[in-house]
């Protein structure tokens, strides 16, 4: 199973972003080296299809993400987004639009509070995602029992 290691603060930054934009989806870039994500870079959700259930990183913001990754001395490793009031599992729409090799981190935000966080990688034949192992998200295990901690 492929892994994705989040450095200290990254998981919280993603959770905070998802809570701030709730009930809309948030999105951003994952920057780091190898399997280690050292920074989450928030990006604007520019979808015109309804931001409660869609996100879009337009080409100009994608370019910015690659430039920021280089400026931070890392690589663009993938993207994160939130699923407001929905589980942290990829949708068919996620699959249809996925890029190979990238890590896709999804955080579920239920009633405004960030809950489960997962990571997914597109299969080479584009048929589905493989779930990866997400490390460094210490809040994940207790998120069901102590949601107030995330507010």
């Amino acid at each position: 199973m492929r892994r994705c290691d989040l450095s200290a603060g990254v998981a919280n930054a993603i959770r905070r972003h998802g809570e701030e934009t709730f009930p809309h989806e948030c999105c951003g870039a994952l920057v780091g080296t190898g399997d280690e994500v050292t920074a989450a870079v928030p990006l604007p959700n520019t979808t015109e299809e309804g931001p409660r259930r869609r996100f879009l990183v337009r080409p100009s913001d994608y370019r910015t993400a690659e430039q920021q990754a280089a400026a931070l001395g890392g690589d663009l490793l993938g993207f994160y987004h939130s699923h407001p009031d929905h589980p942290a599992r990829p949708s068919q729409f996620d699959l249809d639009h996925a890029w190979p090799t990238f890590a896709y981190v999804i955080v579920s935000v239920m009633s405004g509070a960030a809950r489960d966080m997962t990571v997914w990688f597109l299969k080479e034949d584009r048929s589905s995602f493989d779930e990866g192992t997400l490390n460094g998200d210490n809040e994940n295990s207790d998120s069901d029992t102590a949601p107030a901690v995330h507010r």
């Binding site: 080409p59 994608y62 996620d94 639009h97 584009r126």
Partner: protein, 94 residues
């Protein structure tokens, strides 16, 4: 025939031997991309859908212009031009 430089985005570099830029032949964007996917066959499934059309989240720029606003895949390529493949990243819950 002259070659044209094509800039490859991060997620597609594993299919171009990790190169950020590769060269391909072609008088139009369509010919260029056909030559590119011939040289680097792993790119094809990620650039084109099952109907052989460029995927909607694959953006191709001639210098700084999106080819959708030029002549799409019939857009002619001139010596010295640079072509960039730039992703849109989309998703969301069902």
């Amino acid at each position: 025939m002259a070659t044209t430089k094509i800039l490859i985005p991060t997620p597609l570099r594993p299919y171009t031997d990790k190169q950020e830029a590769v060269e391909a032949h072609g008088a139009t964007i369509g010919e260029l991309l056909a030559d590119l996917t011939k040289r680097h066959s792993g790119l094809k499934a990620h650039l084109y859908n099952e109907q052989g059309k460029l995927r909607s989240f694959v953006n191709v720029y001639l210098n700084d212009e999106d080819i959708r606003y030029l002549q799409k895949e019939q857009t002619p390529v001139s010596p010295g031009d640079t072509v960039s493949i730039i992703p849109s990243v989309a998703g969301g819950r069902n």
